[in-house]
């Protein structure tokens, strides 16, 4: 037996390292100032998919939805060991909430088809919602296992999975196909393979090739594309016209939730009482707390 896995990955702003310069005076975030990174739990998801392939056979194809720049992420996936990559990109998909995002993803996954597993990170660090995985599974009409830690075994069209729950874990048996959302594990994620970096560093999407022709007018897009395909270095792109989607359900317009207001977090009043770190200072503090019936 062999199993085909599709892995959903996302390039996200590095919210863990937000500095003062990134915040605009109105309290909103200047996304352009933030470095884009591989969403950490998506990397764990890819690693787990590669483990399943290496142990039980099959293929791993990574998919990302995002701006043209997200192709960077797909190359990183190829360096890690993914067999194939695909970009979903269209301005019409922009501004989507989790419901509209999962709608497009489900349509794209249906079109790609032939999958036994769909992997994704539990959540992305830009929104921390953990919603897109379950919503995609629902739309595909397949079961989900969230908070996945390990795939223990795959046999006879069923997977045995360890998932985390509050205060413990469960062992699940799921009939394939199944969608798994993966927690950041304790084990180290495989590094890029030098050989694969050499092999795939020139893998390009059609939009990246177009950019190239703009910079060098002697290049012809058709030739470039054919050349990349022949060398297995062409990353296909799915756009709105490739999918059977209702425009009323995609992008900002197709999103039921809207951002009404954004504000920077306001600090509380800074009028605190200074206590000297001396016996007298601390003594008066203890007295006050005793009077307030907090102490004693």
């Amino acid at each position: 037996m062999s199993y085909n896995s599709l892995v959903l990955v996302k390039q996200v702003p590095d919210t863990a390292n937000i500095s003062g310069e990134v915040m605009k005076p109105d309290g909103t975030v200047n996304r352009a100032m933030l470095p884009a990174v591989f969403n950490p739990e998506d990397k764990s998801a890819l690693d787990l998919a590669l483990q399943v392939r290496d142990r039980f056979g099959g293929t791993v194809k990574v998919i990302t939805m995002g701006p043209p720049k997200a192709a960077e992420l797909l190359r990183e996936c190829l360096y890690m060991g993914a067999d194939e990559a695909c970009l979903i990109s269209d301005r019409k998909f922009a501004g989507a909430d989790t419901l509209a995002t999962s709608y497009v993803l489900a349509k794209a996954l249906e079109k790609i088809g032939n999958y036994d597993f769909i992997f994704g990170g539990r959540q992305a660090i830009d929104g921390d919602t953990a919603q897109v995985g379950p919503q995609t599974a629902e739309k595909l009409g397949i079961p989900q296992v969230t908070y996945t830690e390990e795939v223990l075994n795959v046999r006879d069209g069923k997977a045995k999975i360890k998932r985390k729950i509050d205060g413990g874990f469960e062992i699940i048996e799921a009939v394939l196909p199944v969608l798994l959302t993966v927690l950041k594990g304790s084990s180290a994620i495989r590094p890029f393979r030098a050989k694969r970096v050499m092999a795939y560093k020139n893998a390009r999407t059609i939009m990246e090739l177009e950019e190239k022709t703009k910079q060098d007018s002697s290049l012809k897009l058709k030739d470039l594309k054919e050349d990349h395909i022949s060398r297995d270095l062409f990353i296909p792109t799915i756009t709105v016209k490739d999918l059977d989607v209702k425009t009323s359900r995609i992008g900002l317009h197709g999103s039921p939730t809207k951002v009404h207001k954004v504000e920077s977090v306001i600090l509380g009043a800074s009028g605190h009482e200074k206590i000297e770190p001396t016996k007298e200072g601390l003594g008066s503090l203890v007295d006050k707390l005793m009077e307030d019936h907090i102490f004693g």
């Binding site: 702003p13 919210t15 937000i18 915040m23 909103t28 975030v29 989790t98 419901l99 929104g127 921390d128 919602t129 953990a130 919603q131 995985g133 379950p134 919503q135 599974a137 629902e138 397949i142 079961p143 989900q144 296992v145 969230t146 908070y147 729950i165 509050d166 205060g167 413990g168 874990f169 062992i171 699940i172 048996e173 799921a174 199944v178 039921p256 939730t257 809207k258 951002v259 009404h260 954004v262 504000e263 920077s264 977090v265 600090l267 509380g268 800074s270 009482e273 206590i275 000297e276 770190p277 016996k279 601390l282 003594g283 503090l285 203890v286 007295d287 707390l289 005793m290 907090i294 102490f295």
Partner: protein, 340 residues
């Protein structure tokens, strides 16, 4: 659709081994206020087996009605049957608001239900309120404002679901206040029939390993909490000593937990536990937004830090600038002397 009908606010009541989660009752307490604002009713959605007691318990937190789906197959939470049950209830009855705990169960269930019913869903809200809203030059009456930190807690976003009939949100445990009523509502129990379906069998839970969380940091009236600035697990010992002296629980910031100074169940902050004790002592905690989100509603806050510029001093009531390893032993000594 909603013209002649009273608005309904629903809370999904999650349970493990026949015990309801605190977060569900906290959400009923919040849901009651929201229902009052909407002049509507509050309903608890109770799913499991032998759920009579839990259904009755919901009346103590203000539910006017408990919709009970009781069946042996539903004894333990499982995504497919639970999502099917909640989705069909939402489709049939069109509540205005549905709230779920942002727990392992709620975060597994809510998105699946929202997807099926095509409802708006906002995760991890820290505040919920009803308000009229003007959005894109249109006036909307009585929308649910879903307020949540975003971008790693650096901004606060207010999310609305203007054009969909059902607004859904998840909230973490401890964020909303638990407000039991002196006199429970004389509520109604409505039994909903359940038919097993073949798809319920796609995922089977074959082993369960579950331990009750023994740490009750949420219920502590005093919390002594340490940050990365404590420097080591050994130094953290002084906080345990202070806690023992004054009768407190010990907590820690995410950085302290990540550094291994203290166990994960004691992490306080947006990604840990939210607490509101009578007194919170923050030792060597700088006061990042992610930490403040979990403790700033404490009644009184004492900050001890050797950096006078640390943001924790912006939200504390009493600030002590100094080295924790000197200040804390002195505080223990002073306290003991006063008690004599």
């Amino acid at each position: 659709m909603m013209k002649n009908k009273k608005h309904e606010v629903w809370v999904f009541i999650e349970q493990r081994f026949g015990k309801a989660a605190d977060v569900s009752f906290e959400l009923l307490s919040k849901g009651r206020k929201l229902a009052q604002n909407l002049s509507g009713t509050l309903k608890a959605v109770v799913i499991g087996h032998e759920m009579e007691n839990i259904a009755k318990e919901t009346f103590r937190y203000g539910a006017d009605e408990a919709l009970v789906v009781d069946h042996p197959d539903l004894e333990h939470y499982n995504t497919m049957p639970y999502a099917r049950v909640v989705s069909s209830l939402v489709d049939e009855r069109q509540p205005r608001i549905v709230l779920f705990g942002a727990s392992f169960i709620g975060r597994d269930l809510a998105p699946r239900v929202a997807s099926h019913t095509m409802s708006g869903l906002t995760a991890d809200c820290t505040e919920l309120k009803i308000s009229d809203v003007k959005y894109m030059r249109k006036d909307y009456k009585q929308l649910l404002l879903q307020i949540r930190p975003a971008f790693g807690g650096n901004i606060l976003a207010t999310i609305i679901t203007p054009d969909n009939p059902v607004q859904m949100a998840t909230v973490r445990e401890g964020v909303m206040e638990l407000l039991p009523l002196d006199t429970p509502v004389d509520g109604k129990i409505t039994k909903i029939p359940f038919e097993p379906a073949p798809e319920d069998e796609l995922v089977k839970i074959i082993e369960r390993h579950h331990e009750e969380n023994k740490v009750n940091i949420k219920g502590a009236s005093i919390i002594v909490s340490g940050g990365y600035g404590m420097g080591s697990k050994e130094n953290f010992q002084i906080l345990h000593e202070l806690a023992d002296t004054i009768g407190a629980e010990v907590g820690g910031s995410r950085a302290a937990v990540d550094a291994g100074f203290i166990e994960h169940q004691r992490q306080i902050g947006q990604t840990g536990v939210t607490v509101r004790p009578k007194l919170y002592i923050a030792a060597a905690i700088s006061g990042a937004i992610q930490h403040r989100a979990g403790m700033e509603e404490s009644n009184k806050i004492i900050a001890i830090n050797n950096d006078p510029e640390a943001p924790i001093f912006d939200i504390c009531h009493y600030g002590i600038v100094g080295d924790v390893m000197e200040v804390v032993p002195k505080l223990i000594e002073t306290y003991k002397a006063k008690l004599k």
